[in-house]
């Protein structure tokens, strides 16, 4: 498996994701310029210029027309995917950590960090895409303030269950579900003891996997919020994704970026690890990065995946035939056992 090295960003990669159709790859970096690439050739298609701070999160809507970006410059921007023009800017009081489209692309939610006097905030905006952006309200439809005394920061935000609930992860290892109308906490679980870096869902949004600095990734059921599996590693996990067509998990991480310079690439554990979804066993690694992997994304067709790392590179891997043909290591039951 020979990866395509996507060189375009000047600083460490913060996020990579495919669009719904799997033909575009969006990447965000600390260099302020979100970029879109061809997911098949690795060609750089364009950039979205305008942010003045690190971009932490991006989300492209289902029809790949509009892109939302969350930036440390305390703004969230909406872009026209095709033309690269800025559609609208949504000002926040603190750095914006995450952004997520609602189902149907008529609203979106952001999470922002506390800054000076401003508290951490979850905001929901309405944006009827068929109307003129000028007419959209610059103020959010709903704001949920996160209590200052807890000093927790939100790390990810996602709409669930046909926009009925807002799913937010926190840096104390907890996950809360909010009511999108009144902002009340509907449910709360604490899967990890340390910060949840990333959370990612399967395509149907029925399973999700959390990645944590506590060196594990955990698989949960979206409907019952039940813990299903734990994937243990020897390193802080920055991102984990569920394969769409195989019972596999891809997991990336590595030593804390601060201590990276003190270790060699070999010892830093910067590989992408492959785990079996069900048996929780590791069965393969892909090496290549020389900094901790910050972001992983697997193509919805399950034939390629992209990894972005602290080293500023994105590596686009296409699975070789051997992997595509790989069968489950556990043979099917003999007929008598099945009966």
């Amino acid at each position: 498996m020979r990866p395509i090295l996507l060189k375009g960003h000047e600083r460490s990669i913060t996020y990579v994701n495919y669009n719904y159709d799997g033909d575009l790859l969006f990447t965000a970096s600390k260099d302020n310029v979100p970029t879109v690439w061809s997911a098949t050739t690795g060609e750089r298609i364009g950039t979205y210029n305008g942010h003045q701070g690190a971009v932490w999160d991006i989300d492209c809507n289902k029809f790949s027309t509009h892109l939302l970006t969350a930036s440390a410059d305390a703004t969230c921007k909406m872009w026209n995917v095709e033309s690269g023009e800025e559609v609208q800017t949504f000002k926040h009081r603190g750095p914006v950590r995450g952004v997520a489209w609602g189902e149907g692309s008529q609203c979106f939610a952001t999470i922002s960090d506390p800054f000076m006097d401003a508290v951490a905030m979850i905001s929901i905006y309405d944006c009827p895409l068929d109307s003129n952006p000028e007419t959209w309200s610059p103020a959010p439809r709903l704001e949920i303030e996160l209590p200052k005394e807890n000093a927790v920061k939100a790390t990810n935000v996602v709409f669930l269950n046909l926009n009925e609930a807002l799913f937010v992860t926190f840096d104390d290892g907890s996950i809360r579900l909010y009511d999108v109308v009144n902002g009340k906490v509907l449910n709360m679980i604490t899967p990890h003891t340390k910060k949840i870096g990333r959370v990612s869902f399967n395509r149907e949004k029925t399973l999700f996997i959390t990645s944590s600095v506590d060196t594990t990734a955990k698989l949960y059921d979206v409907v019952k919020l039940e813990h299903l599996k734990t994937y243990k590693t020897d390193r802080p996990v920055n991102d984990a994704v569920i394969s769409p067509n195989k019972e596999h998990i891809l997991l990336g991480g590595g030593q804390d970026a601060m201590s990276v310079t003190t270790t060699s690439g070999k010892a830093g554990k910067f590989e992408t690890k492959f785990f079996h979804l069900v048996y929780e066993t590791e069965f393969g690694v892909v090496k290549g990065h020389f900094g901790p992997i910050n972001a992983l994304a697997i193509n919805p067709d399950g034939r390629s995946y992209a990894s972005g790392a602290e080293d500023g590179y994105i590596r686009l891997h296409f699975f070789d035939q051997e992997y595509v043909n790989m069968k489950d290591p556990v043979p099917d039951a003999p007929t008598e056992e099945a009966n």
């Binding site: 289902k62 692309s105 029925t206 399973l207 059921d221 599996k229 069900v278 290591p329 556990v330």
Partner: protein
């Protein structure tokens, strides 16, 4: 007495009861000096004195008659009964008399019947009516061969680690599995092996040494206790080659029973010996400060056991443990002897003494016929080594030049199975460190180097037989034409490997492959797997600090281990303790590390197939191969199915969960479609499949073709 103060004499009076035991001389109830001579002529009283005189003369030839008890001939009416009592001065003479004149033809019609008086008295206890003895109820013995019928064709080995003693199965395909680990004894609060363990030569028994008490034998399918041989402070244990007997030795020079020979079947001790056959050996050991007495050794078929003495070898017959023909085998100046592993033949050597040369002798037992004697001169020492089938005897002779300043080696190779036992000589100028016969083969290997202090060694292989090559065919030798493929009994060098790190040699029990290993503290533990048939190195491996190397009985696997001594010195090894298993090609199969590791022993296995059966296997090898391959696969699959049972269940649970979740997702389809402005992302019709052809220029090259004129 009454006027005396009672106090004064109290000191002299004993409080105890006075004992009036008169010490009569004990009546001698022993009649061992008396014999009864029966079947004498019945004579009238007048002739009694004459007959008594004749008898006295006859018996007097055997030994001195007692003067106190003259011969007695009881009367029956006017005639004698026809028997007489004769008493000797010593019981030994009485015994001799029984042997000597029993069945003696006294006259034409009288054949004497002579018996010891005690023996005849014993007859009184015999009851007149015959009572049939009840046979003891049959108690089935443990099947000590059960392990040989293992359906997986596996080999067993035993390890001692920590406080555990475990017997494992290994087949080279899968990781070893435990067969028995003493769990039954553990549950009863006993440790089944405290010190060392030893397998019997055919693997039927496992002996565990319990230093304070003795030796316990285990065997059978579930490792039952099959025997106990009490011997306090036991140090060594040795089985006879056919597993009939066991010897236990404790290194106590003063004990009368330092060496005990036991019969395994009956569990009885059949004879005990002192540790040293004579004080000379003890003094020698004490001067050297070690305990290394001449050891007993068993003949190959359990017929004899022998030990070296001063200028002799004492050979005992089994199971009676009586000295063979009541005399030792004289062996002047003997230094060492060895039984042949294939026949009742002894080899021993004696150093030079005065004008007589050093000798290597081969003696056949019980005929005591000298099969071959070889005189040697200027000998420092001789190292004898039998080929495992007893076909050849190799003697490494360390010799010195006349000036005694330089030493050199020479080999004397005896072809024991051939007429007249021809001996071949091989001179080696180098220092020889080690030599080993190939099991079941005709070759041997030796480690040698130019000088004794060298670190890099050479390893040479010799063959006792020479196969005639194509280019030599037709040449006349000793008046006979050679044909290709003919095997000549001629020593020849196969190959020499130079510049090797090697201190020990380990031939595969199957022959053909040898492992050259450098063992010991200062070496690296390098292992070279070498195929002598093809003269190629199969693999170079390393087991750092390995102390022991051994082959499994089939020659499939090799084990290397770092063992620490049972007593202390553990700090030296701590880091590396454990064992590794290798295939005979040098592929690493298994690694195990332990905090404390003491012993690794393969369970020996004897060849139970006859020559015809082996031949049959060889000719039908393809068929067997297929069978075993299939069995292997089936077993692997069954095992895998069993192992993955839990995982399959996990997978089923998980897939059911995902299916439930998908159902929830499907239920929301309509709502979702509505939210997306009527677009149904799950409708395949909304997708179009297009085939895209892409061209990529990998390289361009420009060449100028001939220009037009």
């Amino acid at each position: 007495m009454s006027n005396l103060p009672s106090d004064d004499h109290s000191d002299y009076m004993s409080d105890g009861e006075v004992q009036y035991e008169v010490k009569h001389p004990k009546l001698n109830e022993n009649f061992s000096t008396t014999v009864i001579i029966a079947n004498l002529p019945q004579v009238l009283e007048s002739k009694v004195s004459k007959l008594t005189a004749v008898l006295g003369k006859l018996a007097g030839k055997v030994g001195a008659l007692s003067t106190a008890t003259p011969p007695l001939m009881p009367m029956n009416g006017d005639k004698t009964h026809g028997f007489a009592f004769i008493t000797f001065q010593s019981s030994a003479d009485a015994t001799k008399c029984v042997e000597a004149i029993n069945n003696y033809q006294f006259d034409k019609s009288h054949k004497l019947s002579v018996h010891g008086y005690d023996d005849v008295c014993g007859l009184r206890t015999v009851q007149d009516t015959y009572v049939e003895k009840q046979a003891k109820p049959y108690v089935p013995q443990a099947d000590t061969g059960a392990w040989l019928r293992d359906p997986g064709q596996r080999d067993a080995f035993c390890i001692r680690q920590g406080h555990e003693t475990e017997v494992h199965w290994a087949d080279g395909l899968r990781d070893p599995v435990i067969d028995y680990d003493g769990s039954r004894e553990k549950a009863a609060g006993i440790q089944w092996c405290k010190d060392r363990m030893e397998w019997s030569p055919k693997g039927s028994f496992m002996a565990t040494i319990i230093k304070q008490k003795g030796v316990i034998l285990w065997g059978g399918e579930s490792y039952e206790k099959l025997g106990r041989f009490a011997h306090a402070d036991v140090d060594h244990v040795s089985f006879s080659p056919c597993e009939g007997y066991i010897m236990t030795v404790s290194n106590k020079p003063d004990a009368l029973d330092a060496v005990k020979i036991h019969d395994i079947k009956t569990g009885k001790t059949i004879r005990a010996f002192k540790l040293y056959p004579s004080d000379k050996f003890r003094q020698e050991d004490e001067e050297r400060g070690e305990i290394n007495p001449p050891a007993f050794s068993w003949s190959y078929n359990d017929d004899y056991i022998a030990r070296m003495g001063e200028d002799l070898i004492t050979i005992y017959e089994l199971p009676s443990m009586k000295l063979l023909e009541k005399k030792s085998l004289l062996a002047d100046g003997i230094k060492e002897f060895q039984w042949s592993p294939g026949a009742n033949t002894l080899a021993y050597w004696s150093p030079e003494k005065g004008n007589s040369p050093a000798q290597v002798n081969l003696v056949s037992v019980p005929s005591r016929k000298l099969l071959r004697s070889k005189n040697l001169f200027q000998v420092n020492s001789v190292l004898m080594s039998w080929q495992d089938a007893g076909r050849f005897l190799g003697c490494k002779v360390l010799r010195h030049t006349k000036s005694k300043k330089t030493v050199y080696n020479n080999f004397e190779l005896f072809r024991v199975m051939e007429e007249g036992v021809p001996v071949e000589m091989l001179d080696v100028k180098d220092a020889v460190f080690n030599f080993r016969w190939e099991p079941n083969g005709t070759r041997f290997a030796m480690v040698h180097a130019e000088n004794a202090g060298a670190t890099r060694m050479n390893v040479s292989f010799y063959d006792m037989n020479k196969t005639v090559m194509a280019d030599e065919a037709g040449i006349k030798k000793k008046g006979k034409k050679l044909t290709e493929g003919q095997v000549l009994p001629e020593l020849n060098l196969v190959t020499t490997l130079s510049d090797r790190q090697c201190s020990s040699l380990f031939w595969s029990p199957a022959g053909g492959v040898i492992v050259l290993a450098s063992l010991g503290d200062s070496s690296s533990g390098s292992l070279e797997f070498y195929d002598v048939n093809q003269t190629i190195t199969l693999a170079m491996r390393e087991h750092y600090r390995a102390t022991d190397v051994s082959w499994d009985p089939s020659g499939r696997m090799l084990s290397t281990s770092v063992c620490q001594p049972l007593s202390g010195a553990y700090f030296k090894f701590q880091m590396d303790n454990g064992y590794m298993l290798w295939s005979f090609q040098g592929k690493q199969l298994f690694v195990a590390a332990y905090e404390n590791f003491y012993q690794f022993k393969w369970r020996p296995r004897s060849v139970v197939l006859s020559k015809e059966q082996i031949k049959d296997v060889e000719t039908n090898i393809k068929k067997y191969e297929r069978e075993f391959d299939r069995a292997d696969k089936e077993r692997a699959r069954a095992l895998y199915l069993e192992e993955t049972k839990g995982k399959r269940l996990q997978r089923k649970t998980f897939r059911d969960r995902v299916a439930d979740l998908r159902a929830v997702y499907k239920d929301q389809r309509q709502q979702r479609t509505q939210m997306n402005g009527g677009y149904d992302s799950e409708d395949d019709n909304n997708f179009t499949t297009t085939t895209v052809k892409m061209t990529e220029i990998i390289d361009t090259k420009e060449t100028v073709i001939d220009e037009f004129p």
